[in-house]
């Protein structure tokens, strides 16, 4: 079974630039999550989708972060403009439903 695919693996940008991350969940998984993991911290939920609808985006900094899941499959997370404190690993996870999440390998973002 193919896992959660994310790209790119690494991204280096300068502050105030824009960046986008892509996630393809496990086939058939209706629920998709984006997490932010800052070095030395646990992952923090940014947004949860159920199919193509948003279930929870209470911790998404909406002034600069946006996410979409068109057609209820792939998802993109965008940051515009990026700040130094956005440097982190961005993890995508999917689930067929329930508590057990399957994580991708993440995108490591460095903002200089």
């Amino acid at each position: 079974e193919a896992g959660v695919a994310q790209s790119p693996r690494y991204k280096i940008i300068e502050k105030r630039q824009s960046v986008a991350f892509w996630c393809n969940p496990i086939s058939g998984h209706a629920t998709l999550y984006w997490y932010q993991q800052i070095l030395g911290q646990g992952p923090k939920l940014l947004i949860q989708f159920q199919n193509n609808g948003v279930v929870d985006d209470s911790q998404l900094p909406k002034d600069r972060f946006s996410a979409e899941r068109l057609k209820g499959v792939d998802s993109t997370l965008k940051i515009q403009p990026a700040k130094l404190e956005d440097s982190a690993v961005y993890l995508c996870a999917s689930s067929p439903g329930g508590e057990k999440l399957f994580f991708g390998s993440g995108t490591q973002l460095s903002v200089l």
Partner: protein
């Protein structure tokens, strides 16, 4: 606000040792506690615990939950170098329909040396 505290934050042991990782939590409306192993970047699921006193076991790993004292432990016996990873504990409360907002601890970084 839900809170998860893991200890120790890092641990170095020799192959063959037994280790115990700790996770204490505060949550308004407990649903379940989960353990993940994070090697490099992708966390992988280990256990989900919902009831006190019932040990979950998988090979050399085991975990138990104490809902009265609000903590869980993860035991690894006969450690191997492949056990080197960050072990994450997460708490899941009951919230809105379909919402599964996990709160993670900072993790325990385990290093197993030959």
């Amino acid at each position: 606000e839900d809170k998860v505290v893991q200890s120790p934050l890092s641990l170095v042991v020799h192959e063959g040792d037994t280790v115990t990782l700790n996770c204490s939590y505060e949550v308004t409306n407990f649903r379940s506690l989960l353990w993940y192993k994070q090697e490099k970047k992708a966390p992988t699921f280990l256990f989900m615990l919902t009831s006190s006193g019932i040990e979950k076991k998988s090979g050399r790993l085991s975990s138990i939950l104490d809902k009265k004292e609000l903590f869980s432990i993860l035991n690894i016996t006969a450690t191997q170098t492949g056990d080197s990873a960050v072990y994450l504990c997460a708490i899941l409360p009951y919230s809105g329909a379909g919402s599964y907002q996990l709160t993670f601890g900072k993790g325990t970084k385990l290093s197993v040396i030959p």
